[in-house]
C-alpha cells in the first residue's frame, strides 16, 4: 500500500470514530446535532495544547481530553432538554460556528495559524507513523465499536431508544429524559474527542477550518447514508464518503460536483441509509436468507 492510501485509510478510520459518536446522539437517542465537528475540534485542540504547551504525552493527555470534550458535550447538550427538533438543529449549527470562531480569534488557540508541531504518539517506545499509526487508529475504532455495542445492550441504551421513539411514554416508564439525553451527549462527544485527538496527532498540524460546519454535515451524512442507529452504519458511511472523492480525484474540476450530486442521489433514493430498513442491501440480504430457508 502506498503512503497516500495509508493516510486516507487513517483519516477514514478517524472519521468513522467521530461518526460513531454522533450515532450515539442522533441514531440512538434521537437528538439531532449538526455541530458534531465542534467536538471533533475540541478534542483535537485539547490534545494538541496538552501535548505541546502542556508537555504531556498523548496517553496521559487522552483521559483529560475525553473528560474535557465530555464535559463540554454535557454543557452543550443542555439545549436539547428545552428545544424541539428544528430549534435544536439550528442551535447546534450555531454552536459549531461559535466554537470555530473561538479557535480562530482567540490567540490562546493559535488564532488563524492553528497549532503546529504536535508530537507523534509513542507506543512501546516506538514513535507511530504510517502503517503503525493506521493500526492504532483501527484499534481505537474497534474499541469505539465495542463501547457502542455494549451501550446498545445496556439499560442506558434501551432508555435512549425509548426516548428516541417517544419521550412522554419513556418518562412514564421511569426513564429520566434529562439523565439519558445527557448520557448520550457525553458519550457521543467524548468519542468525538477521541477522534479529534487522533486527528491532531496524525496531521500534527491543525487549524480551525478543519472543524467547520461542512465537516459536521459530512459526519451526519456518513451516519445517514450508512444507516442511522445501526452499529456498522457509521463505518460504512465513512468508507463510502471517504473513498468517493478519491475515486473522483482524476476528474479534478468535476470532483466536488460529482461528490455533491452522488450525495444528493443517495439521500434521495436511499434516505433510510445503505444498511437501514428497506434499503437495497437489507432487502437483498433478506431475500437471500429467505431463499435458503
Amino acid at each position: 500500500m502506498s503512503e497516500y492510501s495509508i493516510t486516507i485509510g487513517t483519516l477514514i478510520a478517524i472519521q468513522a470514530i467521530v461518526a460513531c459518536g454522533l450515532n450515539v446522539i442522533v441514531g440512538y437517542a434521537g437528538q439531532i446535532s449538526l455541530g458534531h465537528a465542534a467536538f471533533f475540534g475540541i478534542g483535537a485542540y485539547a490534545s494538541a495544547l496538552l501535548t505541546t504547551a502542556g508537555g504531556l504525552s498523548f496517553w496521559s493527555a487522552l483521559p483529560i481530553v475525553l473528560g474535557i470534550t465530555g464535559l463540554i458535550g454535557l454543557f452543550l447538550g443542555l439545549p436539547s432538554l428545552r428545544l424541539r427538533e428544528d430549534f435544536l438543529a439550528i442551535t447546534t449549527i450555531g454552536i459549531n460556528f461559535i466554537v470555530v470562531s473561538i479557535f480562530q480569534y482567540v490567540p490562546f488557540f493559535g488564532g488563524a495559524l492553528g497549532i503546529g508541531g504536535i508530537p507523534r504518539i509513542v507506543l512501546f517506545g516506538e514513535r507511530l507513523r504510517g502503517v503503525s499509526f493506521f493500526f492504532l487508529t483501527g484499534g481505537f475504532l474497534s474499541i469505539t465499536l465495542l463501547i457502542c455495542w455494549l451501550f446498545t445492550r445496556s439499560w442506558s441504551g434501551l432508555a435512549c431508544f425509548a426516548l428516541r421513539e417517544d419521550e412522554t411514554a419513556a418518562s412514564s416508564m421511569g426513564v429520566s429524559p434529562v439523565r439519558f439525553k445527557l448520557t448520550a451527549f457525553i458519550l457521543g462527544t467524548a468519542i468525538a474527542g477521541l477522534g479529534g485527538a487522533l486527528y491532531a496527532h496524525s496531521m500534527r498540524f491543525i487549524s480551525a477550518t478543519d472543524f467547520g460546519f461542512p465537516m459536521s454535515v459530512m459526519i451526519l451524512s456518513m451516519i445517514v447514508l450508512g444507516g442511522m442507529g445501526t452499529l456498522w452504519g457509521p463505518v460504512l458511511g465513512a468508507l463510502v464518503l471517504g473513498i468517493l472523492p478519491e475515486l473522483f480525484r482524476p476528474l479534478t474540476d468535476y470532483r466536488m460536483f460529482l461528490y455533491a450530486a452522488l450525495l444528493l442521489l443517495m439521500i434521495r433514493f436511499q434516505p433510510g441509509g445503505l444498511l437501514g430498513e428497506n434499503s437495497l442491501a437489507r432487502r437483498t440480504f433478506s431475500r437471500l436468507k429467505g431463499g435458503k430457508s
Binding site: S154, S156, F161, D166, T168, S172, M173, V175
Partner: protein
C-alpha cells in the same frame, strides 16, 4: 378503611386565564377501581396529568401512599409505583412488542449509574416480559414491531407496559376508546383481573356503560369542578349529573 392510597386536596390547574381544574379533591383507596367521568373538556385528562407528573398543579396537594408527590416529574412517579396508559396510544414504534415491555422492566435500573450499565438483553428480562405479554394476550406478536400493531393490540400493549412497572396504582386514560365490542369485553376482563392481582385503578372513561359496570365509585367533573362522587348507582340518579350531561347534548346516551 385506612389511609387512602392516593389523595387529591384542592387541586387547581390554570392555563393562563383558563381554570382547567378548580379545587378538585378526592381519595382513592387501596384495591379500588375509581372512575373519572365527565363531559368533554371537563378536565379529566388534566387531572390525570397532574397525578402522573406531566403537570405541576397551580395549587393544592397530591399524596401517594401518604407522601407529597405534586410537582414530581413523570419518571419519579413511575418509580414510586404509578403506571399509566395514554388516551392517544404512544408505543415505541420501531421497537418490537417485547422490547416495548422490557423498557418498563428496567424501571429499577434507570436510577443508578451502575445498574443502568448492565445489559438488558438477558433471558430473565425476556421471560418476564413474555409472562406479562401472555397476561394481556399478546405473546404471539412479541417479535413484531409495535408500530405495526392495530389499535386494539396497542391498547393492550400499553396496559402490558404499565403492568411491567409493577405499579400499585394504574392510571387508564380512555383505554376503551376506539375498540370494537368484543375487544371492549376483553379489555374489561383484563382490568378486573388486574385489580384482583392487587393493583388499584384510576380510570377515565367516556363510555358510560363501561364506567358504570367496572368502577366501584365514580367522580364526576364538569368545567374543572367536582360535581359529584359516589357509587355508580347514586351517580346515575344524581340530578346535577344528569343536567350536566343532557345539557351538553346528551353524552349519557350510552347508559
Amino acid at each position: 378503611m385506612g389511609d387512602p392510597l392516593l389523595s387529591l386536596r384542592e387541586i387547581s390547574m390554570h392555563f393562563g386565564g383558563l381554570k382547567a381544574l378548580d379545587k378538585v379533591s378526592f381519595d382513592l383507596h387501596e384495591g379500588e377501581i375509581l372512575g373519572l367521568i365527565g363531559p368533554n373538556g371537563a378536565g379529566k385528562t388534566t387531572c390525570f396529568n397532574t397525578v402522573s407528573g406531566v403537570y405541576r398543579p397551580t395549587s393544592g396537594e397530591i399524596r401517594f401512599r401518604g407522601k407529597r408527590t405534586d410537582g414530581l416529574p413523570p419518571h419519579r412517579m413511575a418509580a414510586l409505583g404509578i403506571g399509566r396508559t395514554f388516551q392517544i396510544v404512544r408505543p415505541f414504534p420501531n421497537l418490537s412488542v417485547l422490547e416495548n415491555v422490557i423498557v418498563a422492566l428496567g424501571l429499577r435500573c434507570y436510577g443508578r449509574l451502575l445498574s443502568s450499565c448492565r445489559p438488558w438483553k438477558g433471558r430473565r428480562a425476556r421471560e418476564d416480559a413474555m409472562k406479562i405479554l401472555a397476561q394481556v394476550g399478546l405473546e404471539s406478536q412479541a417479535r413484531q414491531k409495535a408500530g405495526l400493531l392495530p389499535l386494539g393490540n396497542l391498547r393492550r400493549l400499553e396496559l402490558a407496559r404499565a403492568l411491567a412497572l409493577k405499579p400499585q396504582l394504574l392510571l387508564l386514560d380512555e383505554s376503551f376508546s376506539g375498540l370494537r365490542h368484543e375487544e371492549i369485553a376483553q379489555q374489561e376482563e383484563l382490568v378486573r383481573k388486574t385489580r384482583e392481582s392487587g393493583i388499584s385503578i384510576l380510570l377515565i372513561e367516556h363510555n358510560m356503560r363501561v364506567a358504570m359496570g367496572l368502577c366501584d365509585r365514580l367522580v364526576v367533573l364538569d368545567h374543572g369542578v367536582k360535581l359529584a362522587e359516589g357509587t355508580p348507582e347514586t351517580i346515575r340518579n344524581d340530578p346535577q349529573v344528569i343536567r350536566a350531561y343532557l345539557g351538553k347534548g346528551g353524552n349519557a346516551d350510552a347508559s
